[in-house]
């Protein structure tokens, strides 16, 4: 069975500071990895994904994540955050093998709070 651990439930950070949101996963098969963002009272939006190839993936708004197979991690980073980045961030994993094929297994979420 798959599992996803997001080590920090809340991350307060000042505007323009760097941030890292941590994500570790557990799976016995090859996985696909995702970061979704949820703004207040909204649904989830895909931020970025790793399917194969380059282990460093980037979003259009400055976030990046690196797939580390040996450490089973997919941490999310941004070198300089903005107030508008305040949201809940979810790490998720899927694969092509398990019973819930292609369904997502989510972490518990990390609330990023950007302060002025």
């Amino acid at each position: 069975a798959q599992s996803v651990t997001q080590l920090d439930s809340q991350v307060p950070v000042f505007e323009e500071a760097p941030v890292e949101l941590r994500c570790n996963y557990s799976s016995s098969v090859s996985v696909y990895l995702f970061w979704y963002v949820q703004y207040p009272n909204q649904g989830l939006q895909l931020l970025l994904k790793y399917l194969s190839g380059s282990t460093l993936v980037k979003s259009i708004n400055g976030f990046e994540a690196e797939f580390n197979k040996s450490q089973t991690s997919f941490h999310l980073r941004k070198p300089s955050v903005h107030i508008s980045d305040t949201a809940e961030y979810f790490c998720a994993v899927s694969d092509d093998v398990t019973v819930f094929r292609r369904a997502l297994t989510f972490g518990s979420g990390t609330r990023l709070q950007v302060q002025p």
């Binding site: 996803v4 997001q6 439930s9 696909y32 995702f34 979704y36 909204q42 649904g43 989830l44 939006q45 895909l46 994904k49 399917l51 979810f90 899927s94 019973v99 819930f100 094929r101 292609r102 369904a103 997502l104 297994t105 989510f106 972490g107 518990s108 979420g109």
Partner: protein, 112 residues
């Protein structure tokens, strides 16, 4: 293009009542999913459907049922609601060739 729509937006329901949450997508995706979101637990899969006419149980299926009569609609039914089903429910869809899922805006359900 609307993407995925869910109805109602929110609902307060008495325990023991029957309730159907509606989900419709216009992207012709063959796979659809229902998740519930609870504080501190992230999103958990309730039921899924890989294609019209087929459904499967997810991680937390008890107390819920689904049907998939066509490609676009994937309703979730609570036959007899209980307070522990108070949650925010998200519907999602994906194409069989894609790995990412698209989410609806959610339904906030309160069972008293």
């Amino acid at each position: 293009i609307a993407g995925i729509t869910q109805a109602p937006t929110s609902q307060i329901l008495a325990a023991g009542r029957r309730m159907t949450l509606r989900c419709t997508q216009d992207m012709r995706h063959n796979a659809m999913y229902w998740y519930r979101q609870d504080l501190g637990l992230g999103l958990r899969l309730i039921h899924y459907s890989n294609t019209a006419g087929t459904t499967g149980k997810g991680e937390v299926p008890d107390g819920y049922s689904v049907s998939r009569a066509n490609t676009d609609d994937f309703p979730l039914t609570l036959a007899s609601a209980v307070p522990s089903q108070t949650s925010v429910y998200f519907c999602a869809s994906s194409d069989s060739l894609m790995h990412e899922q698209f989410f609806g805006p959610g339904t906030r359900l309160t069972v008293l």
